[in-house]
Amino acid sequence: MSHTFANGFNAGRAFIYATLVFFALLYISPLYIILTTSFKDIEEIRSGNLLALPDEPTLYAWIKAWGSACTGSDCNGLAPFFWNSIRIVIPAVLISTIIGALNGYVLAQWRFRGSDMLFGALLFGCFIPFQVILLPMSILLGKMGLANTISGLVMVHVIYGIAFTTLFFRNYYVAIPSDLTKAAKLDGAGFFSIFTNVFLPMSTPIFVVTIIWQFTQIWNDFLFGVVYSGSGTQPITVALNNLVNTSVGGKEYNVDMAAAVIAALPTLLVYVVAGKYFVKGLTAGAVKG
């Protein structure tokens, strides 16, 4: 429900709209500037107005950012790193979501002595600054032979994503009356058949929320990427940062911006398509996380 007030407050309505629109413009302008810049050539960037639309739109910057811009010593553009990110994100999201779903199911519907404590201990994982585990994890990855590998990054993302995915599913399943599990037990269903027959079919919304959350988190991650990847396995965020900080010849802001859009595109797309679930995950994760 929106709150409306019966007594006249209409004098301020123009002010309210003005404020809202002003901030909307403020929030959208960076995106506008990035996009227009990415279609300008370097000459126009130097001479033209920051807010002007491109005179002669060109795909030069996009093509270079994707295929031939230098990210450190290599000059193959962002493309290989885009695929790296995809190869990291897909398994990491799927594995952490499935584990979270099962964990949440147990913690909400099959409680046992100590399970609440376990949940509390796990919840703590949503809060710790990851700097505190960076060093030992790098040594573990090294010992396992997973240093600088995609699999290593997948593993790290799964491990530190479980706290969140478990939290999401646990909070979703805890709202489902335990009578349902009891009824299914009496009907003769076991642990897994109750999960697949009763709980999975009603879990679509929470799966969407969790997958979107994890996808955004992992795609946007920089810390694990920069610490645990090698030159061939870097995710796109790391590559973007390298691209921006590599100055071979003059600074090409248009290429930087095109690269930024490429790096942001998948999560932006998810946001546009499934914004409702995105916000849900954000607020759900925030209330407890």
Binding site: D179, K182, K185, D187, G188, V198
Partner: protein, 367 residues
Amino acid sequence: MGAIDIINVTKSFGDTPVLKNINLNIKDGEFLILVGPSGCGKSTLMNTVAGLEDVTSGQINIAGRDVTNLSPKNRDIAMVFQSYALYPTMDVRRNISFGLEMRKVPKKERNQTVDRIADLLQISHLLDRKPSQLSGGQRQRVAMGRALARSPKVFLLDEPLSNLDAKLRVEMRMEIKKMHKRLGTTIIYVTHDQIEAMTLADRIAVLSEGIVQQFGTPYEIYNDPANRFVADFMGSPAMNFIECDIEDGRLIVETDGQDYKFEVPDRDVLQKSGLKRVVLGLRPEMITEAKPDQKRQFTQEISMLVEETEPMGADTMVTGLWNSTEIQGRVSPEAGHAAKLNDKHTLLHVDTSKAVFFHLETGERVR
């Protein structure tokens, strides 16, 4: 063959005992009601019979077989939950047949069973709907259907009617009774509604604080309560409790400025007990308007100052003070009306033929 023996069952959550040494023998085909105030342990007791909760000690037999350590699915029982607990993502047909599906009953047979039960419960037209598309009463029927589908040895019903409105509740009560007559399956039924208990049960077990206060037929429970708790809990409006002095086996009651000596059938019991004071238990329907032509042995005529009248339709409750304790009598609407108009000093008949007595401190019956 669904006799149930609950033998010395104890259950504690941590250090808190919830069930204390429960013993109940439920005969095959019997309709047993577990009744008691909330938190008395009745639902816990039912859950232990279902196998949804472990017992701390003791044994439970179903049809002569020790099931104490069996999982719920192996006990051959079905349960109707207060919340119905219908599977929200399954349609009515699958809700009813899910138990059969889990027991690997062939599909054709399952469908036949569902059709038969849907027919019985008059929900055939609802089979393709989801629970969210059903009314409360329809959900209740589906929940019943799910329990019936497996034709188990024992039905457990956990406050199955408490989420229905008053009228529907009375209807379903009758249907459950009819169904029990037809199927003859053992039923354990939990409720906190003592009217439901009285109308449905073959026998009632009254629970309080984890202890079976009394186990008997509705008649015994109502007319021959084991203690003050049972007497107070069963019956609405509740039984009157009046502290009285005993004099020569008679009870002294002061009301409307006058002392009365009530004759009671158990005169020698009172005399022998050696007690000076006792709590007299008298149901409201034993206090009626004076009917001079119907005066019998244990009927005494008194005058009471009626402080309050509450018309209930068929009769009217009148409130007055006996030994400074508020009591209620049940009189005809006409008498009630008159008591309200005339000066309020009303002639009443008190029938003590069913009066019961309790110890002041313990609340146990004086027998």
